[in-house]
């Protein structure tokens, strides 16, 4: 294949530069703002240069947002719980879809896809009433219960495609040799599907981490249960927002997910796109 000439290279790289600026500018500016003293930020028009950059805001934010530590813990706790519960429901279902033939199999798979398209916003009213009736408003459950429901469909599709990659011959051979289903599950399926389970678990974790706003602001008013996004959102309404600390707190809040994602992006993207591109 022909190589790019210098002009083409320059054009492509400048295109990438513009594209990347659009994508990354908010993060770069968030980070830059978090390093600058407040009186530098509050100069109009915008000053591009600050001489005394420091991590001061990263220390001060714990005082300004007194429950920040709790919010970070909540975000992790909520995302982990949602991911684990999702896996518990999804593993048997995905296995069944991957291995058995049964009536209404394809229809129900498409129904799952359709569910994916309904946003939580449509269901908020009855969910609100149900949670209120059961006294679950303002609790962790109020955010976990609906969170799981919206991750189940994609997780089933993803995990199903992983299970399908495990050759059925192995299971059949063991079955013919007299192994029980439980034995097959323990000795064949579990070890072979571990990578798939990890990817789906991470997908669920990131998904759960990302969806912590709508359900959180609707079903929970208690600060001690708030995840980072709704916790920080409260501070934005104030008259004078300490933007450097707000940006610092935001970055600290998203750093873990970002790191997890960057290390594992190859697997996650492969899994997600394989499903959508080939199906």
């Amino acid at each position: 294949m022909n190589k790019y000439n210098t002009l083409e290279k320059i054009l492509i790289y400048s295109g990438i530069l513009v594209f990347m600026t659009f994508i990354l500018l908010p993060f770069v500016e968030m980070f830059y703002a978090s390093l600058r003293p407040l009186d530098h930020l509050f100069r109009s028009p915008y000053q591009f240069y600050s001489d005394d950059l420091s991590f001061w805001a990263y220390r001060e934010m714990w005082n300004t947002v007194p429950m920040l530590g709790r919010y970070i813990f909540n975000s992790f706790f909520l995302a982990t719980s949602v991911a684990v519960i999702t896996l518990i429901f999804v593993i048997p279902a995905a296995y069944s879809y991957a291995r058995f033939k049964f009536p209404a199999k394809n229809t129900s798979l498409y129904v799952l896809l359709a569910i994916n398209m309904f946003s939580g916003a449509v269901l908020l009213i009855p969910l609100y009433k149900v949670l209120r009736t059961f006294g679950l408003l303002n609790s962790y459950q109020a955010m976990i219960v609906p969170g799981v429901a919206f991750l189940i469909p994609t997780a089933i599709w993803l995990l199903k495609s992983y299970f399908e990659k495990i050759p059925i011959d192995l299971e059949e051979a063991a079955f013919v040799d007299g192994a029980s289903r439980v034995q097959i599950l323990r000795h064949i399926i579990a070890p072979l599907s571990t990578p798939g389970l990890v990817v789906v678990g991470i997908y669920a974790f990131i998904g759960a981490y990302a969806q912590q706003f709508l359900f959180a602001i609707t079903f929970n008013q208690k600060k001690e249960y708030m995840p980072i996004p709704s916790g920080l959102y409260e501070f934005i309404g104030y008259q004078s927002v300490k933007w450097n600390e707000m940006m610092a707190a935001s970055l600290v809040g998203i750093a873990p997910v970002l790191l997890v994602f960057i290390f594992l992006q190859k697997y996650i993207v492969e899994g997600l796109t394989a499903g959508a591109v080939k199906n």
Partner: protein
Amino acid sequence: MKQKLKSYNSQTYLAYALIAPAALYIVLIVAWPLLETIRLSFTNSSLAGEDYVGFENYQKMLSSKKFNGIVTRTFVWMFFSVSLKLIIGLIGAVLLNANLKGRSIFRVLVMPPWVVPIAIGMLGWLWLYNGYFGIIAGVGMRTGILDGPFGFLAYKQSAFISTIIADVWVGTPMVTVFFLAAMQGVPRDLYEAAYCDGASRWDRFFKITLPQITPVIITMSLLSAIWTFNSFEIIWILTEGGPRGATTTLIIDTYKQALGNYKFGRGAARAVVVMILLTLFAGFYLALLARINKKISHE
């Protein structure tokens, strides 16, 4: 032995039993609330209680000019946002598909807006859009495009455009990544053959790449239309639907009616409209998927 094998794959009861927990969960948390929403839309339900009111909510809603404006606005907002996501996503994918140094790093760097909680990304955008101190207003003032501070989220038109841009920012990475994956899936020999025949880069893009990835482009258009239609957090955090309703889309309006005013009945009527539209989108999408699958299995 064959008999035994057959029984391994066709135990319908076991199959259903394994699916049952997930199915039950979905029925309880998604299906039942959907039906309950429809029922509530025929009542005047609020925190105080509820009575059956027939089609009153629908009549009021459909005869109000405000609601019709909201529907139109939702589609205009969606149209611009989805088109921009697809165009920028396609350009981005082409750029990142070029076989140049650093492309694997760029491919990772595209993704943060997609992975990070939308709400947090929007806190960043709130700062960028700040009329006095934000970088966008700053660049505008320094270059003379703006003659003073300008609150992007404070005026009807600029708020409308600003929320679209933020939505495009959130949605573009995913579109880019899917287009890229599709481009990588195009068989290499097609390009090699075309190259031997002397086709230019341009020709190869329009005659090979584009037709080959068309199914993915169509799927992504529908999917992003659905997600954009559902978009809540972006507008809610940036403007809460304001100023003076300029960014109130159907989803925002539904939320405000139902949980801002606790008028569950009215909110439910709006949610039903949202459901009907989503069902149409989903129907299109699934019909399309079925057709693409059929085509693939024929080939």
